[in-house]
Amino acid sequence: MSQVNENTNDKLLIDVGSTYFKMSTSKGVEQHFRDFNKDIFDDLTYKCGDTINAYEKEDVYICSSANGGLSTLIIGISNSFSLKYATNIAFNSGINIIDTVLNKDIDTTSRPSELIDVVIVVGGIDSVSKIFDEKLFNFLNDINYSNIVYVGSKKEAPYLSENIENLVVLPNIITNKLHVEEENLKEYLTNLYQADIMGKEDIKHLYDITSNQIFSTPYIVNKTLPYIGSKFTVANPYILIDIGGATTDIHYSKDLVDENMVTENEYDRLVFKKLGVYKSKESLIFAAKNNEFVYELLAHLKVTEHIFDETSEKATTILMQLAIFLVLCKVSTYRKAYINLKLHALNSIVFTGGISKVLKPEEIEDIVSFFYQKILSSQHNPNIVMDSNYDIWTLGVKEK
């Protein structure tokens, strides 16, 4: 078997999603719907065992978004800098579940009851001290978390280390020019993601079939974006939308935001954690019903709201079209999310993930046009690019 690999310089690339396994070999890409009654490893080896067995462990590369991701709570001292920078780094590290607390409000903030994988504490440039006090310690005493990391002012670190058990201190993510410095925290969070995989019973056995590090899928996609031109004709600035079963990711060119944020990476990511067409279907429908334009959109698509109760192929198509519309709304000035994108300046929208297998380009163009006309009162029509063969993911894994 290894002779085959030597001859073809082949690699086996596997993406474990919340709904599908995707597998890429030199022969092409195949995808399999997951059996949720089975352990991920057992399901994967049952469906794709022959292919997997044909490869040496060092030739198998896996990325995954199926372990649910890390839940993160960020405590910062301002919205525009500490919270925004840490959130940006967390998104770019592949983290999906992010909550934030402003330190000045910490004593009146309700305490989350669920276990948090990592708490990030951040604030101030390096010369600033006396930022945090016992209110932070009281808050931390009231919540359950597995890891805690401090990435704020250097001068404040000794005080926090004395008072917070097991605190990991990393270099400040806010430079003395108030810019963001992302590498150290990004590396920490990426490593934590690995540790999380190793600790999850149904996913840790994936290391039985690969000797390479397993990365989170969105982290891999984000790394691919600088090379996207080698596979597609994409005009900058662009956004990449990955509508999955559980979450929807948007990766966007920095040119689309005016925010006071400077990073080496030209592309950032944000996630809508309860917007998917399979596992998060109910919350997607809930979001749709709360959008004042949704009934107009359903009429435009020549269906009624009864479609929400159906499980047909047509219903999936409509849900995906709704997801596109809602995501664009969320990043526009109409519904401000974590960030507003300058959608009038957008030249291309790249679609990847399951959506590129279900919707036809003209169906997507129809929704995008509807969004621009209804929400932005514009005739602007960005170019639609379909990653129908998961080239972005495979390119990303190979680059990694």
Binding site: S78, K104, K177
Partner: protein, 137 residues
Amino acid sequence: MKVVTGVVGNDIHVVANRLIELSLQARGFEVFNLGVNTYLEEFVDAVIETDADILLISSLNGEAEGWARELKILKSKYGSLLDDVVFMIGGNLVVGTGTAEDIVPRFKNYGFDLVFHQVDLNTGLDALEDFMKERNK
């Protein structure tokens, strides 16, 4: 002393912004320049992150009134954290005509301690230094 500065709102006067930064540095201030096109909230947040003594907002195209009048609300959100900060605004503060007699009290009412409408930079900075000396006596 630390100063956060920048140009507020839809205003791209980069040269003026750079001159203000250089003048402040020449007078010995530690400067955090947020550049042009900055939102009011970002200014206030930068003061928090840097523990600055002074916030100096400039506005050259006259849009300051639209962009800076919510200062009191933002200050109140941070409570006592901003009690010792000096808030200063200068430049061409309104669109159209208007006299300093009308404009200065209006901006002081918005929450600024020092207001300079169509006053040259060095005069404004001299006044800032005098104000700080007087305050720190």
